[in-house]
């Protein structure tokens, strides 16, 4: 029997993988992909909660799915802007390695 808890644990695992990727990897493009993993883990738990709360009409509560729709839109816009910044950075510095970009490092 698959319960809500199973989906939440899987979503937590996916978030943790993304979180570990942001902390451990030094390539800025991989860090960006890990950010996407984290956003999608949040989406999974939102959809699971939406399916769990069945309203009086016998359908899932669709508010959470509208929220997921907004998150996907924002994530797509974020990817476009972020990758443009990475390309601009690469033009200026010829690197995608975060340890080479340490002007603001204290």
């Amino acid at each position: 029997m698959i319960t809500l808890g199973h989906y939440l644990i899987v979503s937590g695992m996916l978030f943790t993988i993304g979180f570990a990727g942001v902390l451990l990897r030094r390539n800025i493009i991989i860090i960006f992909m890990s950010l996407e993993l984290m956003l999608n883990a949040a989406n999974l738990s939102l959809v699971a909660f939406s399916r769990f709360r069945v309203t009086a009409t016998g359908l899932p509560s669709y508010n959470a799915q509208v929220f997921v729709f907004f998150i996907i839109t924002v994530a797509a816009a974020e990817v476009a802007v972020g990758l443009a910044i990475i390309v601009a950075l690469y033009r200026a510095r010829q690197t995608t390695h975060v340890e080479d970009i340490n002007t603001l490092k204290f």
């Binding site: 319960t3 030094r26 493009i29 959809v47 509208v66 390309v87 390695h97």
Partner: protein, 166 residues
């Protein structure tokens, strides 16, 4: 929803999610991310969220990943050279991530609702119709703000990718 399919797609998603982080080659990472999102979209469909599942494949596997691969090609990234590994940072990062996961695990274990199965749907799912109706009634203002946000992102990308700014 069948337990076997749930475990299959959850396993697929987590294995390829880990492959994104562990691969040294950025192209292999990007392609693993596509498989990971396919598994995620299958999980969405098992939760009767067919519209979200389709959108996930279209937007992520279709648009976002092509953008990632395009940038990797444009920057001509190769397999990373091995650098000196900072062991303190690696151990610290792993410990923080593990502690975070254990926290989620124990909270979910305590949650009473998490032990209950999903209630059955009594009506036929018509999620595109329902989400569309919600977008144009309850969530109309956020919907328009999202439109402005996409416009701003488009202009921002054009400004950022111009060769010289005047």
């Amino acid at each position: 929803m069948s337990p076997f399919l749930f475990w299959f797609f959850a396993f697929l998603m987590l294995v390829f999610g880990a492959a994104v982080v562990l691969n040294r080659n950025p192209i292999a990472s990007a392609l693993s991310l596509v498989i990971c999102f396919m598994g995620l979209s299958a999980l969405f469909m098992m939760l009767d969220a067919f519209f979200i599942g389709i959108i996930q494949v279209l937007v992520y596997a279709g648009a976002v990943m092509v953008l990632f691969l395009f940038i990797i090609m444009l920057l001509d990234l190769r397999v990373e050279k091995l650098r000196k590994i900072n062991y303190v940072a690696v151990i610290g990062g792993t410990a923080v991530a593990l502690a975070f996961f254990l926290q989620i695990y124990f909270v979910v274990r305590q949650l009473n609702a998490a032990q209950q199965p999903f209630p059955a749907l009594t009506a036929k799912t018509d999620d595109v119709h329902n989400i569309g109706a919600l977008l144009f009634t309850n969530f109309n203002l956020p919907f328009q703000i999202i439109g402005v946000l996409v416009l701003v992102a488009t202009i921002g990308v054009i400004v950022l990718s111009k060769r010289e700014l005047r």
